[in-house]
Amino acid sequence: MLFWVIAALLTLGASLAVLLPLATGRRLALSSRDHDLAVYRDQLAELDRDGARGLIKPAEATEARAEIARRILRLDSADQAGDASPGRAPAVARLVATAAVLIVPLVSWGLYSQLGSPDLPSQPLSERLAKNPADSSVDELVARAEAHLAANPSVGRGWDVLAPVYLRMQRFSDAAGAYRNAIRLDGDSAVRQAGLGEAIAGAAGGIVSADAQDAFEAALKLDPANAKASFYLAVALAQEGRGKEAAAAWQAMLARLPPDSPWRSAVGQALAKAASPEVAAGGTNGPDAAAVDAASAMSPADRQAMIGTMVAGLDGKLRQNPRDPEGWMRLVRSYVVLGKTDQARDALGRAISVFGTGSEEARKFTAFAASLGLTATE
């Protein structure tokens, strides 16, 4: 409501700026001849000043004075053309004046109704954070906790609370940072390590990298019954194409898990997926189940060669169809697993250049590569 009052007042003010000069009686204006004359007079005075200071020689001064006088004379003869009469063509003038007065409210309200969001109030951050927590969104609550933690960064408990919230909000790198802070301040625990692993995997688009595996293994060392850690380590097996081992690990989990564990359904789903051949190898673009089976029957050297061809195939596919972030991550990871660090780095560089440095994807790639222990080189 207040906004509309202000808008109306502003419009009124703007309209008055147009209206008042039109309404008030006309002032007598001086002809341009008077203005020119004032300038020439000024120039004469300046000449006198310069002469008095000795900046100009008397002869030059006389000459300059004569020149200015000639200009004044010329002005006088040119002036006979006559000045415009101030009130000519009143009909046209009245039309222009009316249009001018009307155009201000019409254009402004018309355009604003198209562009503006009059119902949206200002939302300064401090106000949003100060309101009753019951009315706040999750985002706002998180921001509040962040502000609190920024002020007291050494409260481990705060990080502990915030970390899983970040995970749920898919802010994975923030979650990883929060878990690391909690571990640093309040010590190691299986829950924190497992959470850290999940955060690292999430940041890499769901791929369980070496860093994530380290975290999960640390969690299992602290608590061998940690379901999250066991689950993700099995996922890692599946992603490496070791579907059978992954299935076995999940089966073992099912046997161990208490009957009311929330992980049962997740494991069940994972097993069901693993059973369907397509997903077993980790995605539609991966090798099919038969190929994987064949691979497991091969000698290590042959298997290496086959993996090499598959990776080369993926590489070639990405060269033709580069806008595939998941594919790039799989490629980089494959090269790292194969121990071909240079090629991994090269693939990373190409991936980043496809999406442009500074893009969302490039950032994800860098984080992902870092989690694999790979650093981008220029």
Binding site: P21, V39, P124
Partner: protein, 661 residues
């Protein structure tokens, strides 16, 4: 508050429509009331734009992330000063600052233009209104800073870390004051073309505006150069980068305009040329805005794929440059040409100055646009850098700089070169000595150094000679000399200061380029290094936490002759997590006019750090000279001759009774 700002912006656009039409009709019809609308509407438009800008700034200050532009370019953890400067540290906000300054200058003409002929004033305001309307529309349709987000994100994406610096608080506003200041000269020119005649007050009015705009542009360019020097971390002060050229071209043309306006004011000569130059100068300002704002510089193809903004500005560019030049072609023949003069005279010297400056502008223009044209036509990406400009711009500047000290000493209409040369003998002797000393004792190998230093000293000595001659040194008694010196018009001091500043800048450039030294090495804590007689000890690398970044700060101690530390320098590598970017904070120690410059490189695994060191002799003179030039312009602005009184009936009668027409 945010929506009030948005509404005020729309209203300012509506007023600019009135401003561009009604006074124009008034001047055509000779209707006083319609012409009188121009003033109040212009002032009201400025007030509304200022209100709009204040609303945006307050949204930035209070981290209102419901505003899209705030969300994209701010973060709640930034220090308040960077939140505020972030208002114009992005495309949308900087365009709003642009029109704010445009309307501000328009309001100044409206407020102080009562001594202008009514039709001229009305036409000037109308042209100014037309520029405003075009840019308001551009902002509202393609770059609206008041676009809202609902629901509002809780955290912003942070301002580009390179911009999180005090330089952002100073450089763009100064630069825009310069760019946009030339719009007034442009409006005066177009108004004169519309009227078909040039009033005597025209030149008197255009000159102070040119001075004002030139002063700000000089400051803006100097500040920008210093900012790039310390922020980018590799010690260069000018890169011939297209963005820099975009501001340098209006400066060159503006400098030419400044000089030709003097001739026009004093002698009513060069009228048409001055008019054209005013149009060209502002056209180059617009071109600069287009180059920087359309994204055409990053890549012609990126521009082609999202062309809305670029095409809009290109349209504005075509409309105003094409329109004004067409008007010029139609009307210039109707304008009366001015007085005559000998080639050897103050006027002749200024024409020469104009020839050199406009040619130099043209070379910079070619060097800036050629790569763009080539990329657009053939797809080849080339970069035209320092070698091109050294070969073209340098030789053009050389004769101009040699001639600078002659100009102010030549008399109007008919000058005597030999008399002037005689007066400059002392300055010439000083410059020659400086050249010989440089060549024989400091650096015998470099002809460039000796010539450059000589030329710089010649400029400085020439400027001082001008003051000395005009206060009568050597020809009158000391007491009279001092009185004459104190009584010299401010504009004489202005000229001398501006030319002196030019000499200082040149001195700084030549000294830095010729005598600067550089070292890149890997250092560990405790290592010492010597550079041009300065010993530095690397104390160590210390991590620290800023409000929105973490940094590794390398601390260095400057060791004095006695072996004890006499000063500290620190340089840092900062990491901004929100944007995942690193910046380098260079460490600078100013010793006299020279500087030691340190920039940290990557840290090795064994605790060593790559350190880049520069010794830059007299480098501060580069920007100090710019400040002196600004002071010269300010001094000139204060000259009483630029304050033309409004004519009054009474005065006219007095004149008449004195026997004058």
């Amino acid at each position: 508050m945010v929506e009030t700002g948005h509404f005020a912006l729309v209203l300012a656009f509506a007023l600019s429509l009135v401003q561009m039409t009604v006074p124009l009709f008034g001047a055509r019809l000779g209707n006083q009331r319609l012409m009188a609308v121009g003033g109040p509407v212009t002032v009201a438009g400025f007030v509304l734009t200022a209100l709009s800008f204040a609303a945006l700034a307050s949204a930035y200050a209070s981290s209102d992330f419901s505003v899209a532009s705030v969300w994209e370019n701010s973060h709640s953890l930034q220090p308040l000063i960077y939140k505020l400067t972030g208002t114009w540290g992005n495309h949308e906000g900087s365009m709003l600052l642009w029109v704010l300054i445009l309307t501000f200058f328009g309001a100044l003409v409206a407020a102080f233009g009562s001594n202008l002929p009514a039709t001229l004033r009305a036409n000037v305001l109308a042209v100014q209104g037309a520029i405003g309307a075009a840019f308001f529309l551009f902002i509202l349709l393609t770059s609206n800073p008041f676009v809202r987000l609902n629901p509002a994100p809780i955290e912003g994406r942070d301002l580009n870390p390179v911009l999180q610096d005090l330089g952002l608080a100073v450089h763009p506003p100064l630069l825009y004051l310069g760019y946009v200041g030339f719009s007034i000269c442009f409006s005066f020119s177009v108004a004169a073309l519309i009227e078909g005649r040039i009033d005597a007050s025209w030149a008197r009015w255009v000159r102070p505006w040119t001075l004002l705009a030139w002063m700000f542009l000089t400051g803006g360019i100097a500040m920008g150069s210093y900012w790039a020097y310390y922020e980018l971390g590799w010690g260069g002060f000018w890169f011939w980068d297209p963005v820099e050229n975009a501001s340098f071209m209006p400066w060159l043309a503006g400098t030419a305009l400044l000089h030709s306006a003097i001739v026009m004011e004093k002698r009513s000569a060069l009228k048409i040329w001055t008019l054209l130059l005013a149009i060209l100068t502002f056209s180059l300002s617009l071109l600069g805005t287009f180059l920087v704002r359309s994204g055409v510089l990053t890549s012609v193809h990126a521009f082609a794929s999202d062309p809305t903004r670029g095409v809009f500005i290109l349209g504005i560019l075509t409309l105003f440059i094409g329109g004004s030049l067409a008007l010029f072609a139609l009307r210039a023949s109707r304008l009366t040409a001015g007085g005559l003069f000998h080639p050897i005279s103050r006027e002749g010297a200024l024409v020469l100055n104009n020839l050199f400056l406009t040619t130099a502008t043209a070379t910079v223009l070619v060097g800036t646009l050629y790569p763009l044209a080539l990329e657009a036509l053939t797809g080849d990406k080339i970069s035209v850098g320092a070698p091109f400009f050294d070969l073209t711009f340098g030789p053009l500047m050389l004769p101009l700089l040699v001639l600078v000290p002659f100009g102010p000493l030549l008399a109007w209409k008919r000058g005597d070169v030999f008399a002037v040369a005689q007066r400059l003998m002392a300055a010439f002797a000083i410059a020659l000595t400086a050249m010989l000393v440089t060549g024989l004792f400091i650096d015998g190998a470099s002809v460039f150094a000796a010539l450059g230093i000589g030329l710089a000293v010649w400029l400085v000595a020439g400027a001082l000679t001008d003051l000395a001659v005009k206060s009568g040194v050597g020809s009158v008694a000391p007491a009279i000399m001092f009185r004459r010196f104190a009584g010299l018009p401010r504009s004489v001091f202005g000229t001398a200061l501006a030319h002196l500043g030019l000499g200082l800048t040149l001195l700084g450039i030549v000294a830095t380029l010729s005598f600067g030294t550089e070292k890149i090495l890997s250092m560990r804590a405790g290592d010492t290094v010597e550079l041009s007689g300065h010993r530095l000890r690397f104390v160590g690398l210390y991590p620290a936490q800023g409000p929105n970044y973490s940094e590794d700060r390398g601390r260095f101690e400057l060791i004095g002759a006695s072996g004890s530390p006499v000063g500290e320098i620190s340089s840092a590598k900062r990491f901004f997590p929100v944007r995942q970017t690193m910046t380098t904070e260079s460490g600078i120690k100013t010793l006299g006019f020279s500087q030691l410059y340190i920039s940290l490189g990557d840290a090795g695994k064994d605790g060593s750090v790559v350190v880049r060191l520069w010794w830059k002799p007299l480098v501060t003179l580069i920007w100090g000279g710019g400040l002196v030039m600004m002071a010269g312009a300010a001094m000139s602005l204060m000259d009483r001759r630029l304050r033309v009184g409004a004519p009054s009936r009474r005065r006219k009668q007095a004149l008449a009774s004195a026997g004058l027409p």
